[in-house]
Symmetry: C2
Subunit: 252 residues, 2 copies
């Protein structure tokens, strides 16, 4: 049976302050939990599972699993419709050292919506991008809503929080491609093999300071009348175009 302190502890993890103090985060639902258990770089701290799900798992670390009733799951879940299992995991550990050479990385100038940030990380995960550099004012990647939207990408994509202008100064040898509304049309750019793709805030776009530090401005051509695209959709389109333009030697 769940005790009150457990419920309180889990609920406290909706706040960044407590997640940071404890070094942990919450993930929910069979798919994400199973993928995190497999990923290997994020240790399981505790698993709360309904018996139906737990019985189907052959290799769970039994000492870390507590069976709960659906009613108990409702008390601890952050989801509107709880999903059988909730795991508390240690934040993932990535190899030390950071190389931006011979690959495309992502930089987010203050993406604030948790769903957008999570969807962008899921997208990075799909296209094999392994580094996402966020401004310090961006949503926290361990926010439960972000974790859910990453669909376990959180275990495979390294997310850093940095002072972005300073970071770009320190990596001035890597070209920056800023996604704007008035740059080179994406189909004319072709594939690139190295660079930082810079995506702006949902309403303000990219700050002037960062724009000045960008070598290229690129634009997704518009046929219709929408004023802009959602930040995650724009990221997906540009990553696709940068990686799969003709002549770019990637497996398809």
């Amino acid at each position: 049976m769940l005790v009150k302190t457990q419920v309180k502890y889990i609920q406290s993890l909706s706040q960044k302050k407590f997640r940071d103090e404890e070094g942990v985060f919450v993930a929910e639902g069979p798919k994400i939990v199973e993928e995190l258990l497999e990923a290997g770089n994020t240790d399981l701290v505790q698993l709360y599972a309904e018996s139906g799900w737990a019985q189907k798992q052959s290799s769970l670390p039994q000492d870390l699993v507590q069976t709960v009733t659906p009613a108990e799951m409702e008390r601890i879940s952050f989801l509107q419709t709880p999903h059988q299992v909730l795991g508390i995991f240690r934040k993932p550990v990535f190899p030390s050292g950071l190389s931006l050479r011979n690959k495309i990385s992502l930089m987010l100038d203050t993406v604030q919506d948790p769903g957008n940030l999570g969807t962008i990380i899921r997208c990075a995960d799909w296209f094999g991008i392994n580094t996402v550099i966020c401004s310090r004012e961006s949503a926290d990647v361990f926010n439960p809503k972000v974790v859910q939207s990453t669909m376990a990408g959180i275990a495979r994509v390294r997310v850093l929080y940095e002072d972005l202008p300073q970071f770009l100064q320190e990596h001035s040898d890597i070209p920056v491609y800023a996604a704007t509304l008035n740059g080179t049309p994406l189909p004319k750019l072709g594939a690139i093999k190295e660079g930082i793709l810079l995506i702006g805030n949902e309403s303000r776009g990219i700050s002037e300071e960062l724009l000045q530090m960008s070598r290229h401005r690129i634009t997704i051509p518009r046929i219709g009348k929408a004023e802009s695209l959602n930040a995650a959709v724009a990221t997906g389109i540009i990553l696709f175009a940068l990686g799969f333009a003709p002549g770019f030697n990637k497996p398809v």
Copy 2:
């Protein structure tokens, strides 16, 4: 001053049943409201605005505007952070008759998340897609969360709710391109000028029945390890690729 019946009426519009009965929907925030006022195919019923915003507008139909205080706006808003203005609009009216010839249309097999549906419509709006056909089990396009995510695309993109297999039977001359995980890689497909792009449910994908009715299966190539892409991101990437592949004669 707002009276109780007004607050109740606006709140009732969070429910599809009441929106359908009244034939209206709610949109919030200066950007969307201004675009809807301009779009011309959706009549304003009533506007609730804070005085700061209302004073800056030169051409508001004054008899339909009621000034409210920020505290009153909080009582009627569906947003966590209310945005100065809330409008009640008649559902948009599109020209009668439906042609799917010489263009790309979208079909959604039960996209259920309001944010995803709205983002897909915004995306369709960007790429000049003017028809989106949804299964009857999809999220309602006039749900306030959907309206917000469309960023006024709701006034420009026509959204129909249909029995999808029957609809495809009636339009069997239009080729269907189903987005799946095991089809022709998108870069090999090239541009198309006519067709229905079929996008599946967030977790179940496309139903077997609809898959059988699709002439083509297409896939966004994956480099990394994510199991899937968000439905709106996938839609954006495919629309981009179908419209802007080399040799396709679109303005860039």
